[in-house]
């Protein structure tokens, strides 16, 4: 067993977990943050993507212990009860989701893309989403949502493509 201490969506968390526990398992099964999903066992699908210290990571490929001391942002932290964040709002507006299973991971990868690049070029967006699979939408509307969210960020006066995680 090992003690992990980290901040998740701004809140301090401390847990004693089995050494093998993955970050995604900590989030889902210990903290009840079930918005982060598990879609594969080979770190191919991206459903589990979260931000760890500002960088998008596949939380199925990070041990909880490795994340100790870090700052984690999950899908639950993208919006407030009153207001959707720019990326979730863009997904709703552009019909960027169907079953919604890939969506949290997809949105976290996009949030990171907007932080670090934010270009509206299709090729760049495709590359940024290379690690995320969606079986429902055909991606067209997800790509729309990326652009929509980029505009929304700019309109809200938030930086796009400047932070480096």
């Amino acid at each position: 067993m090992i003690r992990v201490e980290l901040r998740v969506n701004g809140e301090a968390v401390s847990r004693e977990v089995d050494d093998r526990t993955l970050l995604v398992e900590l989030l889902r099964y210990e903290l009840g943050l079930t918005g982060t999903h598990v879609g594969c066992d080979t770190s191919q699908c991206g459903a589990c993507t979260v931000k760890l210290d500002g960088a998008a990571v596949k939380s199925c490929a990070v041990l909880a212990a490795q994340a100790s001391g870090g700052e984690v942002l999950t899908v639950e932290g993208l919006s407030t009860p009153q207001q959707l964040g720019e990326v979730p709002a863009a997904f709703v507006a552009c019909h960027g989701l169907q079953c919604g299973f890939c969506t949290p991971g997809m949105m976290m990868a996009i949030d990171y893309y907007l932080d670090t690049d934010g270009s509206l070029d299709d090729e760049r967006i495709h590359q940024a989403l290379e690690g995320n699979i969606c079986r429902c939408t055909g991606y067209v509307n997800i790509i729309e949502a990326v652009k929509h969210a980029a505009h929304a960020r700019i309109e809200a006066g938030k930086p796009v493509g400047r932070q480096h995680g």
Partner: protein
């Protein structure tokens, strides 16, 4: 009905929770005191089990029980009957295949755990139940299975050979059934006087469903009441409830099935899986709830798969290129268990698609092999049939030296022929087949393709265009029901028996009902996915949801409006004659009195429903059992470029003209088209299900070795247009949109590939047409020439 909401591209209501991470998928749910299950799965495709040693596993830390198939039988239980033979597309009370040329239609019950013989890699043999999922998995490693391997067969054509390994007693030559459909004599006569007969064989590849949510099941049993609870994603709870209750030998009412948010369906999740039954039985055995969630590797071995047909096609033409007759042989790979014959039923019924074919016949074979079972996968037989029909027309045009569009024009069913009865017995009530094609030609700038071809050539690329027309069939479970209750607070609650697996029912169904009742969108709530209140319903598949539910919502809505008038009249002690219903309110003509639905509901709660004084809810139900004619149709055009150096392909534009009837929510409909297209692109280029023909070992077992389309695989230009030719078959005028994108996709793509390679090779490319496959075909052509 006023149309404030219907037809609006309204963002979806369900998204509010899904984008906040508040969706509730099965694995997100837990029951107090639950244990965890893990399966030991077969490592051989075909083998006799000599022994199962559970000694070490039983002693492993945290293990509560190690359960075998024999334990299940010892409890007096039986396997599941999938009822693989579907309801007929027309005579819905009959089975699609009433009899078989082999004597009888084979159907084998499906046990949750194998007892003495495994028939595909990944088949569950042992269920370990432990305190934690990790302990259950660790203990699985300690179970020793003593196998006596048998020869395996994975290819349906080979499995029909005399001397091929036999899977089940009672299915000689591995045939579940063989059926001759259509008019064989008329076809023979047509072929005898044909100017030309075109023949070709197609292999429609096997598809792994790859819904993003791994399947999961949580079962519990209450010893006091004898009631079971299953929480598990599916495409509809009713079928799960019936099938599993039958296996457990209990009345359906003793099993409650809940399907919460479901992370993708695509067909196979209509059917019941052995693990869903296993967790319930295990829960009763160990006296605590049991939860199991598949990992992706398990999913590749045990989710029901799709497609996998061999079609030998022959079309007879006259001198003018008019079709005289079609004679197809369709061989469907059923896999190791009799889960579904739906693809063969659909595929044969629709095989003449949008063309006037005077005579058609098909010989159908459903064949068992040592592979995971197949079920209906998006389109379920219709994309396969469309692929063959459209490829055949291009091949025929080539052989006859005709323009491929002109050949289609000569054979398309014309509006003047509506209603049109196809030789396979379907009646098309509407559909502007020719107009859709002409529109697609225009939008895709088909006539300028030769110039684009030359331009591409100057860059060293091979450009090809391909077109495919399609039509679908109105099948699926015939029975559906909705119930609407209006409360004294004016809120409208309705229950449906379909299940959204991403189609946005909480939005589109609400749009229909809110308009019908003239109330705001926000006043209406949909409930589904729990057999506690869903008593009847067929689930979501075959484009049936809006077709049936929309129709029933209008019927029940009309009842409610009529009841509102009568109830208001009795409330006011006046005659209903002078009352009007509009905007969710009843008014008298003089403008003296007015009541909203809430007030009327309150009155009914006191005084009873007009005509049904014993009913104290403002309530209406509508139920239907049958077929509603609706044939979604359209045309797809694909334009692509092949790099002959590498075999790499880029789709440069894709046009999709879709007649879904009246689109309730165009945003959702277009999304369905996009999604279907992506799956079509996946099958055409990427999804290479690979199983070793000798051993039956499955090589494509993860997303690392099975290609699902990622964002970069989607064309840069994607033009979707909805033409709206409302059907008269239902009051709402809807046809369906869930399968529009996928049905013509591989056909349009493969026609484009063939066009690009027209001057080099006429070989039929394998599916998927990977760069390696295309490059090899180019090499072979070059070698043949030199």
């Amino acid at each position: 009905m006023d149309s404030r909401l219907v037809g609006q591209p309204r963002p979806r209501a369900e998204d509010q929770r899904l984008v906040r991470g508040q969706g509730r998928y099965t694995d997100d749910m837990n029951l107090p005191g639950q244990a965890y299950g893990a399966f030991v799965r077969a490592t051989h495709a075909h083998a006799v089990i000599r022994g199962i040693d559970i000694e070490a596993a039983s002693q492993a830390p945290g293990v509560i029980a190690v359960l075998r198939g024999q334990d299940y039988l010892d409890d007096g239980l039986r396997g599941m009957d999938h009822i693989p033979n579907p309801a007929d597309a027309v005579a819905f009370k009959e089975r699609a295949f009433p009899d078989s040329l082999t004597g009888s239609v084979f159907n084998q019950r499906h046990l949750p755990l194998v007892v003495d013989r495994v028939r595909h890699v990944g088949e569950p043999i042992v269920l370990v139940v432990a305190r934690s999922a990790r302990e259950a998995r660790d203990a699985c490693e300690m179970v020793l299975i003593d196998y006596d391997p048998l020869p395996a067969v994975v290819d349906a054509v080979q499995a029909m050979d005399e001397g091929a390994p036999q899977l089940w007693d009672g299915a000689a030559r591995n045939l579940c059934f063989q059926a001759r459909v259509g008019d064989e004599a008329a076809v023979r006569e047509a072929f005898a006087r044909a100017h030309r007969v075109v023949r070709r064989e197609f292999r429609n590849s096997r598809i792994v469903n790859c819904q993003m949510e791994p399947r999961s099941a949580l079962g519990s049993f209450d010893a006091g009441s004898g009631e079971y609870l299953l929480i598990s994603g599916s495409q509809g709870v009713t079928r799960q409830q019936m099938c599993i209750a039958d296996a457990l030998g209990i009345p359906p009412a003793k099993l409650r099935v809940v399907s919460p948010d479901v992370g993708g369906g695509f067909g196979p999740r209509s059917c019941v899986n052995p693990d869903q039954l296993a967790v319930l039985w295990a829960a009763r055995r160990v006296g605590q709830p049991v939860k199991w969630t598949s990992d992706r590797n398990e999913a590749f071995l045990s989710d029901y798969q799709g497609r996998d047909q061999v079609i030998r096609a022959a079309i007879a033409f006259d001198e003018e290129g008019r079709i005289l007759g079609i004679d197809n042989e369709i061989i469907g790979n059923v896999g190791a268990h009799t889960v579904s014959y739906v693809p063969l039923a659909n595929g044969s019924r629709i095989m003449t698609t949008v063309y006037h074919v005077p005579a058609a016949t098909a010989l159908l074979s459903a064949v068992l092999t040592n592979t995971p079972p197949t079920g209906p996968y998006r389109g379920a037989g219709r994309p396969e049939a469309t692929h063959v029909m459209e490829r055949m027309l291009d091949v025929a045009a080539d052989e006859m030296g005709m323009d491929r569009i002109e050949l289609r024009r000569r054979n398309l069913i014309q509006p003047s022929q509506m209603p049109y009865r196809s030789p396979m017995g379907l009646t098309y009530d509407s559909g502007g087949f020719a107009a859709n094609m002409e529109r697609a030609l225009l939008v895709s700038q088909w006539s300028e393709a030769p110039a684009r071809k030359r331009e591409a050539q100057s860059r060293g690329k091979l450009l090809g265009t391909g077109l495919a027309n399609y039509v679908e069939s109105p099948v699926g479970a015939p029975r559906e029901r909705i119930e609407i209750t209006i409360g004294a607070d004016g809120r409208v609650d309705f229950v449906v028996g379909t299940q959204s697996t991403g189609q946005g029912h909480e939005t589109s169904f609400v749009q229909v009902l809110a308009d019908e009742l003239g109330v705001p969108f926000e006043a209406v709530t949909m409930r589904t996915g729990d057999s506690l209140f869903v008593k009847v319903g067929g689930g979501s598949h075959s484009d049936r949801s809006m077709r049936l539910v929309g129709h029933l919502l209008l019927q029940a809505g009309e009842q409610l409006r009529a009841a509102a008038l009568t109830a208001a009249a009795s409330m006011w002690g006046i005659d209903a004659q002078g009352l009007r219903y509009a905007g969710g309110r009843v008014r008298d003509e003089a403008g003296q009195r007015e009541a909203g639905l809430g007030e009327i509901a309150a009155h009914i709660e006191r005084a009873g429903m007009p005509g049904h004084p014993e009913e104290h809810r403002f309530f209406a139900a509508a139920e239907f059992n049958g077929r509603i004619a609706a044939h979604p149709t359209g045309t797809a055009v694909c334009e692509l470029e092949i790099d002959p150096e590498t075999g790499d392909v880029e789709i440069v534009r894709y046009t999709s003209i879709d007649d879904v009837g009246r689109p309730i929510n165009p945003l959702i409909v277009e999304g369905q088209v996009h999604g279907g297209l992506a799956q079509g692109i996946g099958q055409a280029f990427l999804e290479d299900y690979h199983v070793d023909p000798e051993s039956g070992q499955i090589f494509s077992g993860s997303y690392m070795d099975y290609g699902v389309a990622r964002a970069g695989a989607i064309p840069r230009r994607f033009d979707v247009e909805l033409t709206e030719d409302r059907t008269h078959g239902n009051a709402l005028g809807v046809k369906g949109g869930g399968e529009s994108g996928i049905t013509p996709a591989t056909a349009a793509i493969f026609n484009a590939l063939a066009d690009a390679l027209r001057d080099i090779t006429h070989e039929e490319l394998p599916m998927p047409a990977t760069p390696a496959a295309i490059w090899s075909a180019l090499q072979r052509a070059q070698e043949a020439r030199s």
